[in-house]
């Protein structure tokens, strides 16, 4: 039977470092997805995720079993991303890449012509145009799978505030994506 997150961390705290590999295995994918969404290039995102795990390992004794490991890791990841931004002084908002070459000339739906990677790129760019709290709420909800209670805890806001951010973020995102799908002819 698989160990729970709390049991895993308890073992890591007790000095059984080998169990941290399981923590990495469980959360590398979701953290990379979130980091890639927040940062411009995937290589940097992967570096930040490694740094996140290293920080988590270094601070393993500060983890409280009554907290969600996911929430804890995400909090570390967000701080690591902020540090990258500060170092690069990179604005969070990036223009949406409205590449006409992707639209095709047949009048078919534009998104049908897009490869998954291109869609991913567009979504990342659109998310980066949202206010950061709204974008982070959506990332945590969809990519990490946090409940609104957990999002509220990790972002230091109320549950209703987290839901409001999600709704506003989705409305803005829908507008951006709609403008991509229906470009002016």
């Amino acid at each position: 039977m698989a160990l729970t997150d709390e049991e895993l961390m308890r073992r890591v705290q007790a000095g059984e470092s080998v169990w941290f590999e399981e923590v990495v295995r469980r959360y590398r994918t979701v953290l990379t997805r979130v980091a890639a969404s927040k940062l411009v290039d995937s290589a940097t995102a992967e570096d930040v995720v490694q740094e996140t795990f290293l920080a988590a390992f270094a601070c393993r004794q500060s983890f409280k079993p009554n907290l969600s490991l996911r929430v804890w890791l995400v909090a570390i990841l967000f701080n690591a991303c902020k540090r990258v931004w500060r170092q690069r002084q990179q604005p969070t908002g990036q223009p949406l890449p409205l590449d006409p070459a992707l639209a095709g000339e047949t009048g078919e739906p534009h998104e049908g012509n897009l490869l998954a990677a291109e869609r991913d790129h567009i979504l990342r760019a659109a998310l980066r145009q949202l206010p950061e709290p709204q974008a982070d709420t959506l990332r945590l909800r969809f990519f990490v799978g946090l409940s609104f209670d957990e999002i509220a805890a990790s972002m230091n806001c109320s549950v209703s505030g987290a839901k409001r951010r999600a709704k506003l973020g989705l409305e803005s995102l829908a507008g951006l994506l709609r403008s991509y799908q229906e470009p002016t002819r």
Binding site: S17, V18, W19, F20, E21, V24, R28, T29, T32, R33, A36, D41, S42, A43, E46, Q50, E51, F53, L54, A55, F57, A58, C59, Q61, S62, A75, I76, N79, A80, K82, R83, A116, A117, R119, D120, L123, L138, R141, F142, F143, G145, S147, F148, K163, A166, K167, G169, L170, E171, L173, A174, L177, R178, Q181
Partner: protein, 176 residues
């Protein structure tokens, strides 16, 4: 299901196709309208959340953290933390992680060592041996010369860690 729960379901990549939510949307024009407005965002976010291939590693051949890596990094961090002289030489003043809450000095040293270790874990260091002309610190840096990974022979974490330390210690002392 009430409208509050319906929003939870709508924003859940798995539950947003549940029959319960569909039933609620059939009966609730307000939620139905909201779903229509949010539809592009919900669709793209859900697809991205469920698409595992979209997050493939940009460096698939590069190893990620392993228990051995962590253990070596941890031991070295503890060792370095006891030696303030060495720590001063190793830790650049610009390296200031923001997220550790305790054992700060230990983490600073450990973080640098661990990142060096990770950078070298793929065996990039050993490429430096295959390129004896590269004598400057930047030329032997594994992180900036990743193409050397093909030349890797000995990839033990300990060997690579010590090699990285040697490289960066040399850089520190030469700048004094």
């Amino acid at each position: 299901m009430n409208c509050e729960t319906a929003f939870d379901y709508l924003t859940d990549p798995v539950l947003n196709s549940s029959p319960e939510l569909r039933r609620h949307l059939d009966e609730c024009p307000r939620c139905r309208e909201m779903e229509e407005v949010l539809s592009p965002a919900l669709t793209w976010m859900t697809e991205a959340a469920l698409d595992d291939e979209a997050i493939d590693s940009p460096r698939p051949s590069a190893p990620f953290l392993t228990a051995e890596t962590l253990a070596v990094a941890d031991r070295l961090a503890a060792q370095l933390a006891r030696d303030s002289e060495t720590r001063r030489e190793l830790v650049p003043s610009t390296f200031q992680p923001q997220f550790a809450s305790r054992s700060w000095s230990r983490w600073r040293a450990g973080g640098v060592v661990a990142m060096l270790l990770l950078a070298g874990f793929g065996g990039w260091f050993l490429g430096a041996a295959a390129n004896p002309d590269n004598t400057s610190t930047s030329a032997v840096c594994l992180w900036t010369n990743r193409e050397w990974s093909a030349a890797a022979v000995d990839q033990s974490a300990k060997a690579i860690t010590m090699s990285c330390l040697a490289c960066h210690l040399a850089a520190s002392t030469s700048s004094l």
